[in-house]
Amino acid sequence: MRIRSLVFIAVVLAGAAGAFFLVWRPEIPVQAQAQAQSFDPALIAKGRELAAVGNCIACHTVPGGEAFAGGLAIPTPFGTIHSTNITPDRETGIGGWSLAAFTRSMREGVDRAGNHLYPAFPYDHYRLVSDADNEALYAYLMTRAPVRQDALANDLVFPLGFRPLIAGWKLLFLEAAGFTPDPSKSQEWNRGAYLAEGLGHCGGCHTPRNALGAQDPDRHFAGGEAEGWQAYAINASSPAPIPWDREALAFYLRHGWHELHGVSRGPMAEVTGNLAGLPDSDIDAIATYVADVMGEPSTERRQQAERLRQDVGAPERTGGDADTLAVPPDVAGMPGAALYAAACATCHESGRPLPFGGLDFRLSTAVNAPSPQNIVTVTLFGLPPADGEASSVMPGFAGALSDQQVADVLAYMRTRFSSGTPWPDVAEMTRRTRSGEHKVVVRPSDGIERAPLNVGVEIGP
């Protein structure tokens, strides 16, 4: 009996010790001096580009608020998380953080004091960032204007407010730090993989997550969700009618639109808004990598795309005084046909080129996507115009169309412009989106509100 008790006690102690080492992280002492003056301007400039790749500003800034001061509410399936202040304010920001503390947060998701951070901060990607790049990011953030602004409390479902639980999540899902290049691929591909999988954290939105909120490695880039928007699949299952290639991706990432694909919107608009300040070489590298992940389209898909491209290039017009496309007779009687013709076709079949004209729906990923969520959102709320500069814009139809009318128009568009199966329950999805039951964040088409220029962050040489 005594031996059994001893074994039992030993097991409990070992378990407790294991849990302690799993959960406990030491505090890293507050850094004595603000070091703003001692950073090399070239390092700061490099950090600025890297911060743009990381899209740091998008989560760490409230639109219209101070850059990097945090406070943005980020809806997740587990409740609402508020982003933190990453300005160099010593009391409420990261002014007291050493480079070691910063690097640890990027790799292990632990703050300076040793608290585990929620993986809404994508350290599952940032773990790949090199020492040199962390140093540059640190130099950039430490030379921003300090803003005194306390973090807001998170509102998470029980028991996730208890941070030590995050250590268990990391044990299951967080891999070791560091990027391993693939020697069989080009240098450009490896640069793209490093940026896209690391700081760029494309998979944060574009890879589906499991029940515990971790990305499913078997479904890399297979499509996910962000701020109520569908992040389309960007692997072989991409629903784009014309397959993406390296050139189209590079143009899109650089400009926020592409003539064969449409304009970026929702959270992606912030990504393209940020990438606008990046050197071509990095944009091309990301495009090279993502195009390779998508892979070569099948012969059949390529031929379909080629036919579509020719149709779009030389549209078949109805003639007479109508300047719109011929409507196939089998869809002409659908309930949404008249609404579409009167409310949508005037812009979307006008032939006006992108980014200011409406996209020809035959090219629309939204119409061909498995879920109608994005097109429901855009139909209701439109694309708001950007402040103070030219941008794509679309009026919202929330006031004009009932839930059933939205469903009718979209059913018509799905039948006419896509070979996909009909979407179920569009009226109910429209109701939930309109009422806010399904939360979706609507911002201007190029994410200008939180693009660097608009929140007072310098961009450029």
Partner: protein
Amino acid sequence: MTVKLKVNGAVHEVDADPATPLLYVLREDLELNAAKYGCGLGQCGSCMVLVDGEATLSCVVPILALGEREITTLEGLGTVEDPAPIQSAFIELQAAQCGYCIPGMMMSAQALLQRNASPSDQEIRDALRTNLCRCGTHMRILAAIRRASEMMSAGAPSNRRAG
């Protein structure tokens, strides 16, 4: 074809193609000329009206979409003799220069104030995001909307012609 429309509290029967944009019917058939034709593409906001209280661009909405819904134009808010708060405030603050965009501005503001009587400056700017003004009276427009908000908060009915 005869289409029934409920505008400013009264039911009107108009003889029009159901695909006709609401704006054309308001101006040409009902002679309600406050809503203006600016771009015709839903991008400038000068044709703004309320549909069931929600700001709606009348140039891109076909009348077939409207059914029984309640349409309100600027004429439906108040009269010259008895202006609604939003109209009084725009006059008091002299918020118009050429005036072409102003009815649309007022209708966007009206929709905002009906659901939020004391909006913040940012909320006003967001609500008027789809309304363009080329004269540059934006600061006066903002001031007028704040003034209308005060008047409504002090108890003035937002719509002088509501039954």
